[in-house]
């Protein structure tokens, strides 16, 4: 019973604080680039604004495009429920080890890339970048994992947490938009 409470608490805290992290990353970045940052709470304001807006879909978007955000959210939630953040003794912690976590993020990426191609514009470019980064991270984590001593499970959980933060599809997407990382016009 206690475990379930901690589990729910952890997921809630994670969802509630994730935008704060995104805001913090943005702040640090702005400092480094000598700009004024939009403030720590900006992602919350963005979210509030976005939730009150209507949904606009491209005219030929299929259900893949509609389904992807939910799937990404679902995988991140599962990852958040598995990785020890508030407590190391979580009832769901057996659901996934570090390789499964990488797989979870990979499936989020898989669908993000598909959603990119779903619209059928010349800007499916994100699709490749996303997939490419999975390839490298997956090798990296596996290699690190296989060299490390297995009894130190917590260590590997830390590794996974690092990649959890680095790979969170939301942060990543926002980052792209910040830098205006549009691919060139595909000729």
């Amino acid at each position: 019973m206690e475990g379930i409470v901690v589990e729910i608490l952890q997921v809630t805290v994670l969802i509630a604080l994730a935008p704060l992290f995104a805001g913090w990353v943005k702040m640090v970045k702005c400092r480094l680039q000598g700009r004024t940052s939009p403030g720590l709470l900006q992602p919350y304001r963005d979210l509030k604004k976005l939730f009150s807006k209507d949904i606009v879909l491209a005219e030929n978007a299929s259900w893949i495009f509609r389904f992807t955000p939910y799937l990404v959210f679902g995988t991140v939630i599962i990852a958040g429920a598995v990785v020890p953040i508030l407590s190391t003794d979580l009832p769901l912690s057996l659901t996934a080890d570090v390789i499964v976590l990488v797989g979870l993020f990979a499936i989020a990426r898989f669908f993000t890339a598909l959603a990119g191609m779903d619209i059928g514009t010349a800007f499916g470019g994100d699709a490749y970048g996303d997939i490419h980064s999975i390839a490298l991270v997956q090798i990296d984590v596996t290699y690190a994992h296989s060299r490390g001593d297995f009894k130190r499970r917590l260590y590997s959980k830390t590794v996974s947490r690092v990649c959890f933060l680095g790979l969170c599809p939301h942060c990543h997407r926002r980052e792209r938009q910040d830098t205006g990382g549009q691919p060139g016009y595909a000729s």
């Binding site: 209507d54 606009v56 978007a61 990979a106 779903d118």
Partner: protein, 680 residues
């Protein structure tokens, strides 16, 4: 008597009768298709049931048929290993047989299908017989029935030159492989019972014999060469991407999904059952070739834009992954680590079943696309998800499974293979300890590249706008094709979320081959969690991942989107240009471009850009882009080899001049030589 082997034998007989009597119905092709494919589905179902039953209860049964050579009758044996492979073959054959009812109908009016039906039944019967065979003669007879039947199936549309060429290449490689297998059995038979009688050719005699290491090595290398040729292990894979795409799609599904698995069966049978004792470097050979096949297979697949050829290259990749598991199991066995060997072996066998399911599903999906669009070139597809919604869902399941993404089945087996890899630090051999993590990293890269490849496949074929011109008559396929694909998809999901049941089922198998059971530790935390070694070491629960994603989806959907009226559809962002055309989308070639740049040295690439003058300087110049990517192995190995054969043939041809005097001298000299030999 209802015992598994009788059911299996009945199913083989039923298939043979169905195949051989198909000619009777040749005047009514529609009826022929329905009757024969329903009968073959029934036979496959019976074989599956007998296979599941055998493995579950660990039954071993034998039958000796009163036909065959004078003192070598046909021996049949159904044990856990053959039962497992019979299940794999039977299950996919069952799905494909149902699918074929609709698929083969598409040929009516274009060409007679009697030949397809006859060889389809013989092909499946041949595969079942391979798993049942318990002596070398019957094994090779079945092997040849399977090879010959599939040759005729590849040749089905024989008016095309590429089909004839592919079928010929397939036949040559299959026979070179079969000769190696025959020699391997010959070595084992000769050592187990001498060269005087045929009794050594039974597998029982080989099981009881003790082989000297050097001869065992010869037998293993020959057998591995022969089976690798059939399985399409790099560098013996060249026939595979030629033959699989040109066969009808239901046949490609069977060839890629299960025919390659008979070769895996052969490797496991010869090493773990017949030879039993082996040094670690045999496993290292299997593992290395598995890794090479996995990584090269996926890289070559990424370069393809022919849908079926791409899937064929993925079979090379997946055979590689299966061999990684089996190679690891061999290494662990030779180091006397039965638990770890069991883990690696089960990982390999699990992937065998999984690959059969998802590759069969993908080829069935490709067949549905081909059936609807009459197009294999991905560059001319696009947007099919709107015309073929069901096929798209099933194909997506196949894509997720093959990309090793949770919660589908491909992930579980690759995850188990990773776990086996991660146990390698406990090996006593330093070199292995050092190199193993590299192997694990390569396997990870393979998985990631496969995911990239299937984003490309699904994105280009089903999403976006159509790139072709023939989009008008595209329609969803009929119920039987959908039923076949649906059952395969559901099996993919079930194998992905309920792995503990599979592992319990295969306990007998790993115990009989490597002497250890996995289920005690694998299901230690209950059926919900898969914990192959120990819960604190590695764990996975596919069902929680699956239900978790579903629950998150449901909750968020209900909470956030109660009002569907808030969804608007708008025109896509065209960056200020007047008009976006479907040709501006990413296509199969442009998607793979970065990989082509990074790994370009592995391919033979011919790229050419031509700038042509515009009719008037005011207009932009016209660009023409040519790209041809070819398999380097063809030029590294096969071209020199054929050149050498032709050279020898030309030299030998000098003896044959067409002059009767010369031939008389040859006969005379032969006679003298023979007399001399006799007199000595």
């Amino acid at each position: 008597m209802m015992t598994p082997i009788n059911i299996a034998a009945t199913s083989v007989v039923l298939l043979l009768i169905t195949g051989l009597s198909a000619g009777l119905l040749r005047r009514n092709q529609g009826l022929l298709i329905r009757v024969s494919f329903i009968l073959s589905a029934l036979a496959s179902f019976m074989a599956t049931a007998s296979g599941i039953w055998t493995v579950k209860n660990g039954i071993t049964e034998k039958i000796i048929l009163p036909i065959g050579l004078p003192d070598l009758p046909f021996h049949l044996r159904l044990d856990a290993l053959s039962g497992f492979f019979m299940t794999v073959i039977g299950l996919l054959s069952f799905f494909v047989s149902i699918y074929s009812i609709g698929y083969v109908k598409g040929f009516i009016g274009r060409r007679p299908v009697t030949r397809l039906v006859v060889f389809y039944c013989l092909f499946i019967a041949g595969m079942f017989m391979v798993t049942l065979a318990d002596d070398a003669l019957f094994f090779l007879v079945s092997w040849e029935i399977m090879a010959a039947a599939s040759y005729f199936l590849v040749m089905f549309e024989d008016e095309k030159v590429e089909n004839r060429r592919a079928a010929f290449l397939y036949m040559v490689v299959a026979h070179v492989g079969a000769i190696a297998i025959l020699l391997s059995f010959g070595v084992m038979a000769g050592l187990s019972a001498g060269f005087e009688s045929f009794s050594g050719f039974t597998f029982d005699a080989m099981r009881q014999a003790q082989f000297p290491v050097e001869w065992a090595t010869v037998a293993f290398l020959l057998a591995f060469f022969g089976f690798a040729a059939k399985a399409g292990v790099i560098p013996l894979h060249v026939w595979l991407p030629e033959a699989h795409p040109v066969a009808p799609s239901n046949i490609s599904a069977l060839m890629s999904g299960v025919m390659l698995k008979t070769a895996i069966y052969g490797i496991v049978r010869v090493t773990f059952d017949l030879l039993r004792v082996f040094p670690w470097w045999w496993g290292a050979i299997v593992l290395t070739l598995g890794l090479v096949s996995a990584i090269m297979g996926v890289l070559y697949a990424l370069m393809q834009h022919d849908l079926k050829k791409l899937l064929a290259y993925h079979s090379v990749e997946n055979i590689g992954i299966i061999l990684i598991g089996i190679g690891l199991a061999m290494i662990f066995t030779s180091f006397k680590m039965p638990m770890m060997a069991a883990l690696a072996l089960i990982a390999g066998l699990y992937h065998t079943l999984n690959h059969a399911m998802f590759k069969g599903l993908l080829f069935m999906g490709a067949g549905a696309v081909l059936h609807a669009t009459h197009e294999r070139n991905m560059e001319k597809m696009g947007g099919l998800i709107r015309r073929m919604p069901w096929t798209a869902v099933f194909f997506l399941v196949g894509c997720i499974s093959i990309s090793a993404l949770p919660p589908f089945n491909g992930f579980v087996s690759e995850w188990l293979t990773f776990q086996a890899f991660l146990l390698s630090p406990s090996m006593p051999n330093q070199i292995m300890k050092l190199l193993m993590p590299m192997g694990a990293a390569l396997l990870a890269l393979t998985g990631a590249l496969a995911a990239a490849c299937f984003v490309k496949v699904f994105g280009v074929v089903f999403l976006g706008h159509s790139r072709g011109h023939h989009n008008q008559n595209i329609h969803e396929v009929d119920w039987s094709m959908r039923a076949g694909m649906m059952m395969a998809s559901l099996t993919c999901l079930a194998l992905g979320v309920l792995p503990t049941f599979f592992i319990e089922w295969t306990d007998v198998l790993s115990e009989s081959l490597v002497g250890a059971k996995l289920s005690a530790s694998a299901a230690a935390g209950g059926w919900l969690w898969l914990t192959p070694i120990a819960p604190e070491r590695a764990s996975y629960s596919g069902i929680i991942v699956f239900l978790g994603i579903l629950a998150a989806y449901g909750i968020v959907y209900v909470v956030l989107h109660v009002n569907p009226g808030k969804i608007h559809r708008g025109a896509i962002w065209d960056c200020g240009f007047e008009k976006l055309t479907p040709r501006m989308q990413y296509n199969a070639t442009s998607f793979a471009m970065p990989i082509r740049r990074i790994f370009g040295f592995l391919f033979l690439i011919k790229e050419d850009v031509q700038i042509k003058k515009a009719p008037h300087p005011a207009f932009p110049k016209r660009l023409h882009y040519f790209l041809r990517v070819r398999d380097r192995f063809w030029f590294w190995i096969y071209m020199p080899f054929t050149a050498a054969v032709f050279w020898i043939a030309r030299k030998a041809g000098r003896f044959q001049q067409g002059r009767i005097q010369t031939y008389l001298i040859y006969s005379f000299l032969t006679l003298i030589v023979l007399l001399l030999v006799k007199s000595l």
